[in-house]
Symmetry: C2
Subunit: 321 residues, 2 copies
C-alpha cells in the first residue's frame, strides 16, 4: 500500500478532520488507493451506530436530523451525517436548501456533515454511502446518520443500510398510505409522524397504525415498528424518538438481529463492488472502439442492439448480421 | 432461432394484439428467446414517432397523455403508451391510480397501454423501455408515448430516449425552478405548464421563460424549447401541444438531429445490455458460493468488502487477509 494512503488512514483513525474530508473525497471520486484506504480502515469499524432517516420531500427529515444531532451532542456523542441528495429535479433543490441551513451545525466540533449527490451513481450509491459510513465509523464518530429522500429504490437502500431505519411522514399528504403500498414498511424500524401539531395528525397516526396492524403480525420476539409524533421545528418528540432508537438498538442486540442484517448488506455491497471492477476491466479502449464502430450499423438497422451486445460480451469481433 | 419466436415475431409484425402483449411480457421477464425476438423485429423499427412525457408527481402527465391519445386517434394514428411506474413509495400509488383510469382508453382499438414497474430494475429500465418501444414500433404503432415520473435519473433517461421530450409542470409547486436547478432543462424539448387556469400560472410561465433565456442561448439552427399552457382536464392547449411536437419533429428532420440522438441512445443501450450479459455469465453457482463463504469473514472484519470484491473479480480463490 502507498505511504500516502497509510498516512491518510492513520490520520483518519486519529479523527483528523481534514484527513476525514479528503478521505471521503478520495472515496467518492475513486481516486487512486481509495479501496486500500477503506481496507485499512475496515478493521476499525463497527463502533458507530448507524441511523437511516428517509421519507418524502418536505416531511422535515433535515429538521429531525438536526434535532437528533443536538440530542446526541448533549449526551457527549460525536455525530456524523451523510446526506444523500438525489438529483431528482423535483426534490434536489429543496434538500440542498436544508443542507445549507444545516451546515451551521458542522461548525460545531464533534459534528460532521457531508452531502453525497446521486446523479449518475444510482447503481453504486448504496455502496458509496456505506463506504463513507465506514470511514466515519473508523474516524471515531459514535453516531452516523444517513439521510435520504425516499424517491427511488436506491435511496431507500441507503436508509436500509442503517442499524435503525426511521421513516418520516407528515399528516397531510397521505404518505402513510403510499408508503404501505410500496414496500417502504419493510424497511421501517420506526415511523415518525412529523408536524403532528397540524390538523389531521390524529387521523394520520391512527390510519398508519391500522395499516401496520393489518400488514405486520406482532409476533413474539419480532420487532414491531413504533409510530412517534414529533414537531421538528419545536423539537417536540425528539427525545422520545431518540429513546425509541435506543430501544430498537437494545432489542436488536438481545435477539442477535444485527449480524444477519449486516451479512445481507455486505453481500450486496461486495456484489456491487465486484461488478464495478468487472466493468472497469471489461471496457478497454479496444472494446470501446468496437462499440463505437457498431453504433452506425445499429442505427442503420444492419445489426440489432442485442446482437451487438452479445458479440461484445462474447468478445467476438466479427459480428454476424 | 426457435420456431416459436419466429411465429411470435411474425404475429407482432401483423400487429396481433395478443402476440404484442405476450412479446412484451417475454421481454420484461427476459424469458428464453427475448433477445432473438427483438433482433428479428429490429429491422422493422424506425417508423413510430416516440414522445417522452415526464414531470413531477401530480402534474397531470396521465391526463395530458390521455388527451394526446385522443388527438392522434382523431388523426387516425395508432397510439401505444409505455407508462413507467416508479416504485417510489411517494409517487407509485398515485400513478397506478391514473393508470387504472387510463385503461379505459385501451378498450379502444388502435390504442395500446402498458405499464412497466421500475422496482429492482432501475439500471436496466431505460433499456427495457426502449426494447418495448421497438416492439410496439415494429407492431405498426405510429406514435409511442413513454410516460414517466421525473423522480429519478433513470426515469428521466427513459423520457430522454424519445424523439421529442415533453416536460409537464404545474404553477403552484415552483417545479420550474427545481427543474432548472437539476439539469432537467437539458432533456426538455417542450415545456407544458398544465393546470394553467390556476392562480399564479402567468407568473410561473414567465418565471420559466426567464430561466430558459438565462440558461439557453437561442442560437441559429438550434432548437429552443417552447412553453405551452394547457388545462389537461378540459383538453385546452392539447392541440397546440401536438402541433408543437410535430414542429419539433420537422425541425429535427431538417437539421438531421435525430441520427446523433439515436446513435447516443443505442450506444448506452448496448453498454447496458453487454454488462447485463457479463453479470449473468460471471455469477456462476461457484462464484455465488464463494461470495457466500466470504460474507462471515467480512462481518468478522477478517477481510474488507473491497478485498473480497477484488479477489472475486480476479477470480482468485485464495483471499489475502
Amino acid at each position: 500500500m502507498k505511504e500516502e494512503i497509510k498516512q491518510q488512514a492513520a490520520a483518519i483513525l486519529e479523527s483528523d478532520r481534514l484527513a476525514v474530508t479528503r478521505g471521503i473525497t478520495r472515496i467518492e471520486n475513486e481516486r487512486e488507493g481509495w479501496d486500500d484506504l477503506l481496507s485499512s480502515l475496515y478493521p476499525h469499524t463497527g463502533k458507530a451506530y448507524r441511523i437511516g432517516v428517509t421519507g418524502p420531500p418536505g416531511a422535515g427529515k433535515s429538521t429531525i436530523t438536526q434535532k437528533l444531532i443536538g440530542y446526541y451532542r448533549e449526551k457527549g456523542k460525536k455525530v456524523a451525517v451523510i446526506a444523500v441528495d438525489p438529483t431528482s429535479p423535483f426534490t434536489g433543490g429543496a434538500i440542498l436548501g436544508d443542507r445549507v441551513r444545516m451546515q451551521s451545525e458542522s461548525m460545531n466540533e464533534g459534528v460532521f456533515i457531508r452531502s453525497m449527490a446521486t446523479r449518475g451513481s444510482l447503481g453504486g450509491l448504496n455502496t458509496k454511502a456505506q463506504d463513507v459510513a465506514d470511514l466515519l465509523d473508523a474516524a471515531g464518530f459514535d453516531i452516523v446518520i444517513m439521510e435520504t429522500v425516499g424517491v427511488g429504490q436506491s435511496e431507500l437502500d441507503v436508509a436500509n443500510a442503517a442499524d435503525t431505519t426511521v421513516v418520516v411522514l407528515v399528516p397531510e399528504s397521505g404518505d402513510s398510505i403510499q408508503a404501505m403500498k410500496s414496500g417502504l414498511m419493510e424497511i421501517a424500524d420506526l415511523f415518525v409522524m412529523n408536524k403532528s401539531d397540524r390538523d389531521g395528525a390524529d387521523q394520520a397516526v391512527s390510519a398508519l397504525k391500522t395499516i401496520l396492524t393489518m400488514r405486520i403480525t406482532h409476533a413474539e420476539g419480532e420487532w414491531y415498528p413504533d409510530v412517534i409524533r414529533t414537531v421538528g421545528t419545536s423539537g417536540e418528540g425528539i427525545d422520545t424518538l431518540a429513546e425509541r432508537v435506543e430501544g430498537h438498538y437494545q432489542f436488536m442486540l438481545q435477539h442477535n438481529f444485527f449480524e444477519p442484517r449486516r451479512a445481507h448488506r455486505e453481500k450486496e455491497r461486495v456484489r456491487e463492488l465486484t461488478e464495478a471492477l468487472l466493468h472497469r476491466s471489461f471496457w478497454t479502449e479496444k472494446r470501446n472502439e468496437l462499440l463505437e464502430e457498431m453504433v452506425p450499423r445499429i442505427v442503420a438497422r444492419d445489426i440489432s442492439p442485442q446482437q451487438a451486445a452479445r458479440s461484445l460480451a462474447a468478445d467476438d469481433i466479427t459480428i454476424s448480421s
